[in-house]
């Protein structure tokens, strides 16, 4: 307990670091992932095939390997982002791969006959996307997006492996000078569990709201 009190400010800083990294990575990877999904859907094979390969690679590799690549391999070719920068880049690369799939599935679920209808009405491509397609995609993709976030925040613990002083790293340093490692690791796990729980509540709220109110859970 004493260790925890002594280390409390560091735990607080670490929690704050974890949260802002998560928010930044989520925002950037959602925006890029959604844009790439639209590109892949409408630009055809030359774009969608490389994107599929990208997404398969980064969803299949352990996050640790991606982070090590950013942290150790990039400096070898002259690009040193530091530990936090490497972690953010690594998680964003992985995040884009997942967001791409989530939004692609959302786009596929939109009834394509709607595009005929909008063309018949004389709506432009951009107008159709903005007013008709994207609002539907967002509704369909929202539950999967929230599920991904709730499961993804815990992955940030891996950043401790590339010297980012997030919660798990501070814990690792603290247990070196403590005789209560179990307690300290439980504290770290609880901090993550608290953040994840908030996201799980968000997930439940979003999926209820978007599946009942719009009845869009039907098309998968």
């Amino acid at each position: 307990m004493d260790v925890f009190i002594a280390q409390f400010p560091r735990f607080l800083d670490a929690t704050w670091l974890t949260i802002w990294m998560f928010v930044l990575v989520t925002t950037v990877s959602t925006l890029i992932g959604a844009t790439l999904a639209v590109l892949a859907e409408w630009a055809g094979k030359p774009v969608s095939l490389p994107l599929s390969v990208y997404s398969w690679v980064f969803r299949g590799l352990p996050e640790l390997i991606v982070l090590l690549g950013c942290y150790l391999a990039l400096p070898a070719i002259g690009l040193d982002l530091g530990s936090v920068g490497s972690a953010i880049l690594g998680f964003t690369l992985v995040g884009i791969a997942f967001q791409l799939e989530i939004f692609r599935a959302g786009l596929n679920a939109v009834d394509k006959r709607i595009l005929e209808a909008t063309r018949a009405l004389g709506m432009s491509w951009w107008l159709t996307m903005r007013r008709v397609v994207l609002p539907q995609v967002i509704r369909i993709a929202m539950p999967a997006w929230a599920t991904f976030l709730a499961g993804n925040v815990k992955i940030f613990a891996v950043a401790s492996a590339v010297a980012v002083t997030e919660v798990m790293a501070v814990t690792r340093q603290a247990i070196a000078v403590s005789d209560q490692p179990f307690f300290l690791i439980m504290v770290a796990a609880s901090i993550y569990a608290a953040i994840a729980s908030i996201l799980m509540v968000l997930e439940a709220v979003l999926s209820r709201r978007f599946s009942t109110r719009y009845g869009l859970g039907l098309r998968r």
């Binding site: 690679v57 969803r59 299949g60 590799l61 352990p62 996050e63 640790l64 390997i65 090590l68 690549g69 150790l72 391999a73 070898a76 070719i77 709730a150 499961g151 815990k154 992955i155 940030f156 613990a157 891996v158 401790s160 492996a161 798990m168 814990t171 690792r172 247990i175 005789d179 209560q180 490692p181 179990f182 307690f183 690791i185 439980m186 770290a188 796990a189 993550y192 569990a193 608290a194 994840a196 729980s197 799980m200």
Partner: protein, 216 residues
């Protein structure tokens, strides 16, 4: 680039790959064994058992996998329990995987029509025998597809074992990088091995899906 760092260390890569496969295989088997009773408890008549099982499910979904591995490796010595790194890694990964698997198993058991349970009772078949011989074999067709598609997650998770001093693929990669300082070559080689293993898992998944679709 200097690929001799990979070719000259090929035996190390091979044994590290085998360690990764062994850890993942042990985890899947053990986690399914643990997940079955948890899934059955989830719909038990006794509130206490339901509560324990729901709590387990929530905890494992909310806690980082890495924290479970740390608890097993760095935490348990506080109580005089010293686990071998590999055992600690498998323990941590199994606890997490069981939390996910219990949900698939539960869905599978619920997908078996109520009439099947009723027929078993009407024939006087005790629940333990009914589950083992009649209900679970039917539930497997619902359980196996998500279970196999989750093998990918398990393989990715096994990389965390390197952070509790296990020399599986990721651990071997980190060790070799620190001796040789050739991060690009080593990481590309390891990434390719992971992707190949992943390809094998995708194949297994296809086979499972095909087999169960044919039977319908």
């Amino acid at each position: 680039m200097d690929w001799t760092v990979v070719t000259s260390n090929a035996p190390l890569f091979v044994s590290a790959t085998l360690n990764t496969v062994a850890i993942a295989a042990a985890t899947i088997v053990l986690s399914v064994v643990i997940a079955f009773p948890l899934a059955i408890m989830r719909d038990s008549r006794f509130g206490f058992l339901r509560w324990v099982s729901a709590g387990y499910s929530w905890t494992t979904r909310a806690m980082p996998t890495l924290s479970l591995l740390f608890l097993a490796y760095y935490g348990l010595p506080q109580f005089g329990i010293y686990l071998d790194p590999v055992v600690a890694a498998i323990t941590g990964l199994t606890v997490i995987a069981a939390g996910y698997n219990m949900e698939y198993i539960r869905v599978g058991l619920q997908a078996v029509p109520a009439g099947q349970y009723e027929a078993c009772r009407a024939l006087g078949i005790p629940l333990s025998i009914a589950l083992r011989r009649l209900i679970v074999p039917q539930a497997m067709r619902t359980i196996l597809p998500p279970l196999t598609s989750n093998l990918t997650l398990l393989l990715k998770g096994s990389a965390l074992a390197s952070l509790v001093a296990v020399t599986e693929l990721s651990g071997q990669a980190m060790a070799l990088i620190s001796y040789t300082y050739k991060p690009i070559e080593i990481l590309i080689a390891v990434a390719l091995i992971y992707l190949c293993l992943n390809g094998v898992l995708v194949g297994v998944q296809r086979l499972v899906e095909q087999r169960y679709r044919l039977q319908d």
